[in-house]
């Protein structure tokens, strides 16, 4: 009895992070890294490095935290890649086309009737909807590379606007504009695709 209890404790305290588990996570990690880096090679490199770092260590708790922990490593790798790459910016950062966004408003700056944002229903219900996540990722991919990078740094990696500006050497006012357009564009894409899926609760 006491030996069983002992074994059980031992297993739950230090589960093996086996290669099968890692490869199940791998696909998800690659998809995640691609979304942020927009470059297959860089994404795979970042994932490989994160996995290698994970396999080297064996200090974690349960299965759920393995995933959280591996993604935390991956996130740091992604930040490194973004920092490295932003030292050599190749394109203008203010490249999101604002034309589509402007025409949602009339000449007095009010929403045109057909563009007025709708009620999406209860947030938790939306987040529980698998279709919403698929559309969300597709909409993220529609952002231009630079906009997506700034948006990810702010919203996913949780950096402050001032940090992002410094990292990417762009003015703070450009940063605000990029964030604003990213949100507008993402919202518009979500609304026109998600609500049309018939989820008009």
């Amino acid at each position: 009895m006491s030996r069983d209890a002992h074994n059980h404790n031992k297993e739950s305290a230090t589960p093996d992070i086996d290669s099968e588990q890692i490869s199940a996570l791998r696909d998800e990690m690659i998809r995640f890294a691609r979304l942020q880096l927009r470059d297959d090679h860089l994404a795979e490199d970042a994932v490989h490095e994160a996995i290698a770092a994970a396999l080297k260590s064996n200090s974690f708790g349960d299965r759920a935290s393995i995933k959280t922990w591996v993604f935390a490593i991956l996130r740091n790798k992604i930040i490194d890649v973004i920092r490295e790459r932003s030292r050599h910016p190749t394109e203008s950062l203010l490249d999101e086309d604002a034309g589509d966004l402007e025409q949602q408003f009339d000449e007095r700056g009010h929403w045109r009737k057909e563009h007025e944002p709708a009620n999406w229903g209860h947030p938790e219900a939306v987040l529980a909807n698998e279709q919403f996540w698929l559309i969300f990722e597709a909409c993220l991919e529609h952002l231009t590379e630079n906009t997506a990078r700034v948006f990810m740094m702010r919203e996913h990696l949780g950096l402050e606007i001032s940090e992002i500006c410094t990292e990417l050497s762009i003015s703070e006012s450009n940063c605000w504009v990029i964030m604003h357009r990213a949100r507008m564009k993402l919202r518009l894409c979500l609304e026109s695709n998600f609500l049309e899926e018939g989820d008009e609760s």
Binding site: K67, T68, P117, W176
Partner: protein
């Protein structure tokens, strides 16, 4: 009087910095009378929540 275009800009900034008292008051009044912007504001919060969870959601979690 603030219009929707200005309100959306302020709502976005409100996600990234602390708005001052005057901005908050003007925005609050606008949201009170404008259902489109009020929905927009809720959508921004949902987008933020989604972005936070991306990558760590799913059955394995």
């Amino acid at each position: 009087m603030m219009n929707c275009k200005q309100a959306t800009r302020l709502m976005s900034q409100g996600q990234d910095r602390e708005l001052n008292m005057a901005e908050r008051t003007r925005l609050r009044i606008h949201l009170f009378i404008c259902s489109g912007c009020s929905n927009y504001n809720k959508q921004l919060h949902l987008i933020r929540e989604t972005m936070k969870r991306i990558g760590t959601r799913g059955p394995g979690n």
